[in-house]
Amino acid sequence: MDHSSLAGRIFRGIALALVLVFFMFPIVWILLMSFQSNEQILRIPPRLLFEPTLANYEALISGQLKTAAGNLQLTFMRNLMNSFILSSASVILALLLGVPAAYAFARFKFKLGETIAFTLLSFRFAPPLLVLLPLSLYYQQLGLNDTYFGIVWVYQLIALPLILWIVRGYFEDISPDIEHAYRLAGHSWREAFTRIAVPLAGPGIAAAGLLSFIFCWNNFVFALILASADKQPVTVGALAFVTASGIQYGQIAAAIVLSVTPTLLLALYAQRYLVEGLSLGAVKG
């Protein structure tokens, strides 16, 4: 196909625009909704032109929701904070555990190695609901219900396999002889790992970390079941807008915009690494 012909270029433009509209429309619509009051949103037919209001954001940030039924306390900012705490802690823990494990799987052949690696990956296949019921029972017994630690732990189901498999591919790409050369120059095995292998796999580790951060951030069910309001992240916190006096569409939209922004910025900033990390993880292994 000749991509440079005029017809081809026009066709490509139209196709790209269609795809863009399809995927971007909901985001744009949510953004518009977040600047409207509930009445404006529920108008039929909907209008593109309206008088923007910051009331939704004010309500979220101040934590006071005025409804027909009276004032409601909102914990949205707390939820946002929780999201940060839970996602960051999960990723840090997963990196601490997953990077050395990935190195071991990449470098050493040991009994049951492949089986263990695959079992870890298989956590990604299973629907979360499958483990949730037994887990919530265990958590109640262990006293981990409604603790940051408990949620961070269960988030390892999301973050750890991702980091393990992506970073493993990167480690496998580094010639072991580079580390050998370093060790011959008078360094220990541990130094070769921290000073040679980890920096060389840096882009992969960053990509894996970012991806697992995003996946943790977007998780809904684990925190819904295992945590109460003061430990819940934004994804669950948004449920609070379904109130007795109706659904607060405007606030929901504003909450979505606020909660999507950090991960969106992160993803845009590290786009190149993410694509690289994903494709490498997919091809390798």
């Binding site: 002889d177 580079i178 050998h180 050369a181 011959l184 360094h187």
Partner: protein, 371 residues
């Protein structure tokens, strides 16, 4: 006592669901201080495994390795005082060429001036002064190989291990570097082992050559020894270009010795005096035996044997003549031009004193007379 002593070393690789691979078998080797040794063999013969066991990247399955009277086979690589140039170069990507070469010296805590001086001098030797500030990614394979070589040679070590050190270089540069590296090693009395599959390189650089095949050390000696006194059929056919001609001959005892023959065309009398006890025993017991003759020892133009020419090539300084004689294809090398075309029949001389005779187990029981 040698600088490096390898005693009964075995290397077995185990992999799940497969029988273990015996990469190195009962290896015994002693390398003297200041000696340059080549490990020569086809790929998969165990030469790289041997090198990696000495460096410490592979454990020894059995046996011991001692370097400068210290047993090293259980030490981590960092404590072995060994420098190595890797076949895959393995330069540190974030560092420049200069930093790569000076890296180990920095770890030795030498002064900055000393490091710079040593890096510059080794860079001059392998002709990489102009790329010292480049990063490895920007270099060609040949340049990376020279950096890797420099990184190994710049160090102070008891032993230098070089894995295919010049495989990626152009022939001309290779010849120049060989000479210089040999000079450097000799001048500093450095002990070195290098792996190669190139006979020319082995002969040019090494004092002694260890020929390996199938994980077994076949013979360890100077190039001259390997050529004139090959230990067995493998070494005889592996060393030398073109390879030794091998003939399958019938053995019969006769007055004063043995008669070796191929049909009625070719027959030799081997006098008992030229054979030692094992040689005589081998021939008494055998009905047939393998006999080898170097292409350089077959004279064309005179003699009683007849050679039907199959091909005749003039290489500019020597002729390679291939022909059929008594049902065997023989190759002869002569220094002069031979005026013969394929199909011609020319006389040639095969003399009994030029024959290597091999026993039933492939071990050479009589060598050709030295020239």
């Amino acid at each position: 006592m040698g600088m490096l002593e390898i005693r009964s070393v075995d290397k077995l690789y185990h992999s799940r669901g497969k029988p273990p691979v015996h990469a190195v078998r009962a290896l015994d080797m002693e390398v003297k201080q200041g000696e340059i040794v080549a490990l020569l063999g086809s790929s998969g013969c165990g030469k790289t495994s041997t090198l990696r066991m000495i460096a410490g990247f592979e454990s020894v399955s059995a046996g011991s390795i001692a370097l400068a009277q210290r047993p090293i086979h259980d030490l981590p690589p960092a404590k072995r005082k060994v420098a190595m140039a890797f076949e895959g170069y393995s330069l540190y990507p974030p560092l420049t060429v200069r930093e790569n070469i000076g890296f180990a010296l920095k770890a030795q805590q030498l002064s900055r001036a000393e490091i710079a001086q040593r890096v510059d001098s080794i860079a001059r030797l392998v002709e990489i002064e102009d790329i010292l500030d480049h990063h490895p990614r920007a270099l060609s394979g040949g340049q990376q190989q020279r950096v890797s070589l420099a990184r190994a040679l710049v160090r102070d070590a008891d032993l230098y291990l070089l894995d295919e050190p010049m495989g990626q270089l152009e022939p001309q540069l290779r010849a120049v570097l060989r000479g210089r590296i040999k000079g450097l090693l000799a001048e500093r009395g450095m002990t070195a082992i290098f792996v190669t599959h190139d006979q020319t390189e082995a002969s040019a650089l090494a004092d002694r050559i260890a020929v390996m095949e199938d994980g077994v050390l076949q013979q360890f000696g100077s190039e001259r020894e390997l050529k004139n006194r090959p230990a067995n059929l493998f070494v005889a056919s592996f060393i030398g270009e073109p390879p030794m001609n091998l003939l399958d001959m019938a053995v019969a005892q006769e007055e004063g010795g043995f008669r070796l023959s191929v049909g009625s065309d070719l027959a030799f009398h081997i006098s008992r005096q030229t054979l030692d006890v094992t040689g005589q025993q081998a021939l008494v017991q055998a009905e047939r035996t393998k006999v080898g003759i170097r292409p350089q020892r077959i004279a064309i133009g005179s003699g009683e044997a007849r050679l039907r020419i199959v091909s005749n090539q003039w290489l500019g300084d020597q002729s390679h003549v291939a022909g059929e004689c008594a049902g065997h294809l023989l190759v002869a090398v002569t220094s002069g031009k031979i005026a013969a075309r394929p199909g011609d029949i020319v006389p040639c001389a095969l003399e009994a004193r030029n024959l290597h005779i091999f026993g039933a187990d492939g071990v050479c029981v009589r060598h050709a007379e030295a020239r």
